[in-house]
């Protein structure tokens, strides 16, 4: 019995050692990129699609870690650690789910000699150009959420004649991306003294909740002029509430992201405009720069912002615009 056990132990150990030893020894040519997403949602899948497209183009491999079911280091870090334990990749593309809590686990990976780019979200304040304990990633590639929120705010303000009441429906108060959109929107509104922001609600990514919150705000403010839904679920809920209240047209709906439902609502005049990020491009650029860094030792810019595309009722049918729909 003891002998068998010992034998099994040796077998397991040798397999494990072989597993650890493999990268570097074999296949020195084929590069493997790993993608660690933040949560299972369309945006994260689009980043994967973009990364996959560039990987196919370059003939490198992309392995995708399991998508965390919810947003947060407590869900993401175990998946990340398991992936590192399995090993077999040369470059990491990661969406850190916390600006602080992910610093230590990612630093450990960096110290193993695996370079990385953070996408969509960042570590610390996102500025990797000056030395700090979180400046080890090569670059941050992602939308400037604050700027996006600001642009949405400006556009909505123009649309409602620079005066009246507006309302924000967003998902969580503690996530950098949507907080940035909210803050940018609020910054824009400060430039219009006749505009009043009557409230900010947090729907926790539940469309029905976004809808009931917006309905309550419409009830409380019959003279509301504009609504901003800061992501897929917020926007879907907000515009449904406006439609159900019979206020389409009277209440302008600004939206963020470009899911099919939002695009259809745009076509039917139920959403007035929607800011689409370019998640495909984020993934695509991450692989492109990672490849250049690994093969040519290229200098990677510390911050790469792919910009956005704003859908409105005039351009929603343009053939050129279709590439920005998340599908």
């Amino acid at each position: 019995m003891k002998k068998t056990f010992g034998l099994v132990l040796i077998l397991v150990l040798s397999v494990a050692i072989a597993g650890f030893a493999r990268p570097g020894v074999e296949e020195p040519q084929e590069l493997t990129f790993a993608y660690m997403s933040g949560i299972a949602d369309p945006f994260m899948f689009m980043i994967e699609k973009g990364a996959q497209a560039k990987a196919d183009e370059l003939g490198v491999k992309l392995m995708t870690a399991e998508y965390p079911k919810a947003w947060g280091p407590e869900y993401q870090v175990p998946i990340l650690e398991a992936m590192v334990a399995r090993g077999g990749f040369d470059f990491l593309i990661v969406v850190p789910t916390s600006t602080e809590a992910l610093i230590a686990p990612l630093k450990k990976i960096h110290d193993k000699g695996i370079p990385m780019i953070t996408t969509d979200t960042y570590l610390g304040d996102g500025d990797y150009s000056k030395a700090s304990n979180y400046s080890f990633p090569l670059a941050y590639i992602g939308t400037d959420n604050e700027l996006g929120g600001y642009e949405v705010g400006k556009r909505l303000a123009e649309m409602i004649g620079k005066e009246g009441k507006v309302y924000i429906n967003t998902t969580n108060p503690d996530v950098s991306s949507v907080s940035g959109r909210r803050d940018g929107f609020l910054r824009a509104m400060k430039e219009f003294p006749k505009i009043e922001v009557v409230g900010i609600d947090y729907n926790l990514d539940v469309q029905e909740k976004a809808q009931s919150q917006t309905a309550a705000v419409l009830q409380a403010n019959p003279d509301l002029k504009g609504v901003f839904g800061t992501n897929l679920f917020s926007a879907q809920g907000a515009y449904r509430a406006v439609v159900n209240a019979g206020l389409t047209g009277a209440v302008k709906v600004a939206s963020w992201d470009a899911g099919m439902d939002q695009i259809n609502a745009l076509k039917e005049g139920q959403i007035d405009f929607s800011l689409a990020q370019k998640p495909f491009e984020i993934g695509y650029l991450a692989v492109e720069w990672g490849y250049k860094y690994l093969t040519e030792g290229a200098e990677v810019p510390k911050k790469i912002v792919p910009g956005f595309f704003i859908f409105d009722q005039d351009n929603v049918d343009d053939p050129d615009a279709q590439q920005y729909i998340y599908q």
């Binding site: 108060p173 009931s212 409380a220 679920f233 389409t248």
Partner: protein, 383 residues
């Protein structure tokens, strides 16, 4: 003698009479106070709901409006369905954590079937019917698993349903790949957002058919009476209130919650009954999932942060059930959900910033249950 009578006895008698009268009055007052307390104590949650409606109507402008009350009912439906199923489970002394994700799982399955049939060119009504039926049928599975685990393998309900909670979520996410399901039959959304009757005050009234081609003013004035999804929910609730309150099945449910051993000795098939209870809970979640498809017009998975199950459990307890089992009614649960939704909507309409609203919601809920605990009930008072 007469004098004596006059000077001593009469005042004494008067004095005594006065005392007796006072005692009787006090006794009567005590009793009626007791009775009032009892009356309120036993219906505390309903009184609390009425109290909240009054307070918000006075405090928040635009709260007291037909449209607002319709909204509260409309947005309560999914929660009410989840909580009604949860009521059955909690009465037996169990708990079902999986309801929120079962709803998402059924939602995704039903909408995928609808989308695919619609894309294959089948009539809309057919696609929707088959999608709904497939969703409801699949909704049995998580309940069956929960029931078998709890009743046959004696897994604690918390763990068993936490297992299906994860599985339902995982299956839903892998089926929809994290995207909402689009391209459903367009009629689905029309049906899901329809009302039993429409009224434009002073102008027109119609059953079932939404007036077409309205101008903006009429559109705003348009009042929908009784949303279709609320109607469906009410019918289901009436049926299950009857089952729980008036049938042998209902009596057995309470008996199991009162004490499993006694229930077994009384000849009740406890394991078989528990399996059915968890299937009922799951089916309620499935109905909620299907209704959600019709309302949103797209398929939505349940996000991790939504905490539907906690909301449902809280409502059942606010409605007077005990987590130890043996107590609870569907009516109470409905009131529990209405309290939660009224609180949320009311506080929102007052315009208090959301972070303070979270604090207020927590405080008011705790207060409601504490008062419920200290007001007397017949059992504790009729010593």
């Amino acid at each position: 003698m007469r004098c004596l009578h006059h000077f001593l006895i009469t005042p004494w008698a008067v004095h005594c009479g006065e005392r007796v009268r006072r005692l009787l009055w006090q006794e009567w007052r005590n009793r009626s106070a007791k009775r009032v307390l009892l009356f309120v104590g036993e219906r505390w949650s309903a009184f609390f709901l009425v109290l909240m409606l009054v307070v918000f109507s006075l405090w928040a402008p635009h709260f007291f409006a037909f449209k607002n009350f319709t909204n509260i009912l409309y947005y309560s439906t999914l929660y009410v369905l989840l909580a009604a199923g949860e009521t059955f489970v909690i009465i037996t002394g169990g708990i079902d954590l999986s309801v929120g994700f079962v709803m998402g799982f059924v939602n995704v399955c039903a909408s995928i079937v609808m989308r695919n049939l619609h894309a294959a060119g089948h009539p809309q009504a057919f696609s929707m019917l088959i999608g709904a039926l497939v969703g409801l049928a699949l909704g049995v599975i998580p309940g069956l698993i929960n029931g078998l685990l709890v009743a046959r393998l004696r897994v604690p309900p918390f763990i068993a349903t936490l297992g299906t909670y994860g599985m339902a979520n995982g299956v839903a996410l892998s089926l929809c790949e994290g995207f909402p399901i689009y391209f459903l039959p367009p009629q689905a959304r029309v049906i899901g957002n329809s009302f039993l009757a429409y009224l434009i005050p002073g102008k027109s009234f119609a059953f079932f058919h939404r007036p077409q081609n309205l101008n903006a003013d009429d559109l705003r004035a348009l009042i929908g009476i009784l949303p279709a999804t609320v109607f469906v929910t009410v019918v289901i609730l009436i049926v299950f209130t009857f089952i729980l309150g008036r049938t042998r099945f209902g009596r057995h449910t309470y008996a199991i919650g009162g004490g499993k051993d006694a229930a077994i000795r009384a000849g009740i098939d406890v394991p078989g009954h528990l399996v059915r209870i968890y299937i009922i809970s799951s089916m309620f979640a499935a109905v909620a999932g299907v209704l959600y498809v019709f309302r949103a017009g797209i398929g939505n998975f349940t996000t991790m942060s939504s905490s539907y199950e906690l909301f449902a459990i809280a409502a059942v307890v606010i409605g007077g059930a005990s987590l130890m089992g043996g107590k609870g009614t569907i009516g109470g649960t409905v009131i529990g959900i209405l309290i939660l939704m009224t609180l949320e909507t009311g506080l929102n309409i007052t315009g208090i910033p959301s972070f303070y609203r979270y604090i207020a919601t927590g405080l008011i809920l705790i207060a409601a249950v504490v008062i419920d605990q200290i007001t007397p009930e017949r059992r504790t008072i009729s010593d």
